[in-house]
Symmetry: C2
Subunit: 369 residues, 2 copies
Amino acid sequence: MDERVREHAEVLVDWSARIESGDDVVVDVAEDAHELAVAVAEKLGEAGANVVTTYGSDEVLRAYLKGHDGDFGAGDHQLALIENADAYLRLGGGRNTTATADVSSDLRQAYSKANSEAREARMDTDWVSTVHPTRSLAQQAGMAYEEYQAFVYDAVLRDWETLAETMAEMKAILDEGSEVRIVKERDDQPPTDVTMSIEGRTAVNSAASVAYDSHNLPSGEVFTAPYATEGEVFFDVPMTINAQRVKDVHLTFEGGEVVDFAAEQGERELASILDTDEGARRLGELGIGMNRGIDRFTDNILFDEKMGDTVHLAVGRAYDSNLPEGETGNQSAVHVDMITNVSEDSYMAVDGEVVQRDGTFVFEEGFEE
Amino acid sequence: MDERVREHAEVLVDWSARIESGDDVVVDVAEDAHELAVAVAEKLGEAGANVVTTYGSDEVLRAYLKGHDGDFGAGDHQLALIENADAYLRLGGGRNTTATADVSSDLRQAYSKANSEAREARMDTDWVSTVHPTRSLAQQAGMAYEEYQAFVYDAVLRDWETLAETMAEMKAILDEGSEVRIVKERDDQPPTDVTMSIEGRTAVNSAASVAYDSHNLPSGEVFTAPYATEGEVFFDVPMTINAQRVKDVHLTFEGGEVVDFAAEQGERELASILDTDEGARRLGELGIGMNRGIDRFTDNILFDEKMGDTVHLAVGRAYDSNLPEGETGNQSAVHVDMITNVSEDSYMAVDGEVVQRDGTFVFEEGFEE
């Protein structure tokens, strides 16, 4: 076995999920994530955890959904499994990222609705989502297999403790600040100039560990839940949303809501997202990518939104971890991230003070106000 | 997809497990049983069942066991999953039948003991065990892959309703009878002449359906729980027990217990089984193979013991389904089947009347008393 697979498992079990002896752990294994599952199982054995492995196959799910009439039940056994689990480790890495492309959105939504209780219960565990580098994901990224493996392990096998310390500086700035402004002026694209309030909100130092309220491996972002957004943003990083290519999105905000939108590609999908419900036109997240191990976009949100020199905004649902205890933020059935590259001709200011220019942070060497 | 895979799934879901709308079903998928899992998922969708798929990987299990110190916990989440399930479908078919060969028997036993409650809970569901024909199983059978596929589907895709009617005749004979005697006299092997009591016991018509208390697909045997065994038996069908080859076993019974034993190969494994506990030297099962779709031995007990023209005896645990309500039969931690070929120079008599001679039953054409 590739030593990097073992190291990935070690980071996942020890740093990310913080598994301890006696923990009841569910490991969900995608079709081609077998090798990572073997490495994770060994680590979980060493930790003294109790393990149930589930099979997260998109092809099996597709067959089930297409066979079903759409009147889905909840599955007490599924709920009982999750409610009795301390941790849930999702090992992504299927054989075809578009394996469920021919399932109707009605069926998907009905299934998703029937499983909402189980999904919420999963969010109450120490859950972590990661991916094993597969040929299918390499293809989605437009990369050779070996090249993609190196890309994934560069992003995952980091010195998380040191990165967490750096990110803590950004979190402190956001926690103390009231207003964020992001400006980008490039000749080759529409201008970005947007302000949003973060008063009373708490930023999450997403250091790829449940100890930091962070549930993705890799991670490497600091995010909060903004509101009262005003201005316009151009998202120049293309992405795939619900199997649709979406490119060059332009959003205009007034009074916290999207009042105008356009996209070079996928505008219909964008419209459908914004029309989902009332909360879908408001922001749920402002995220600042800080993982410099990620050096390119690969059309996979798990990686793209964590990349250094990027900022992302999500329309839709806000995370409770950004809100004062007991309060809930923006509510929506969707949470769709969109990314803008801030490596040149751009800055981010908090309460009027520039904290990031052309990707470099105020607490980093080379920063120029 | 091979049409036979779909037919297999249909037999499993409709005939064997009798899945109904709203049933909570666990599908356990071995490493290479993916294709059958897809077909089963479609059938379960059509039936309106709620599905959790677990990943039954021997390689994942090996890694977990070898990582662990042996002080296993029980896993409340696993127990909760099973206790809330109506049915449990095991789709066997791994990549290597000896994938756990280097795990110590101490670790295995400790793990098995920690999971005994979950195992018992599984037995309380409508469970069915089947296999997807894989290259690994073809190799174990000494057959080409395509040849093995044909073999499996010949055994599985039967007219189960008609076979159930035929087997009901054998069940009636055993239910009315008090004593079974099996005799075989061949020049090339030690004699078999054994009698056992079946008074008060109920035979199971194992027609590959939970509706018949039958939990294997394929099945095709009638079995009961004998006692007070006297005499000697020679088992001429070789088999693999706990990854050990065991061949030409000879057992001598007195007062219901094995008092002498020998084996051409694997005698040490046999001794270890018989010494497990008190019940390991008594019989737990007499089974009569009646599936004529199985035409050869493949070193897989799921198939071998069901083959027409064979009779098998198991030392160890008896099944509750053979006993009057509330009574328990022979208790043991083991249940090891051993098979003898009765296609020639042999007969089986119930209360002195010959009911099978050289493989042909009294209710079949060509029977000669």
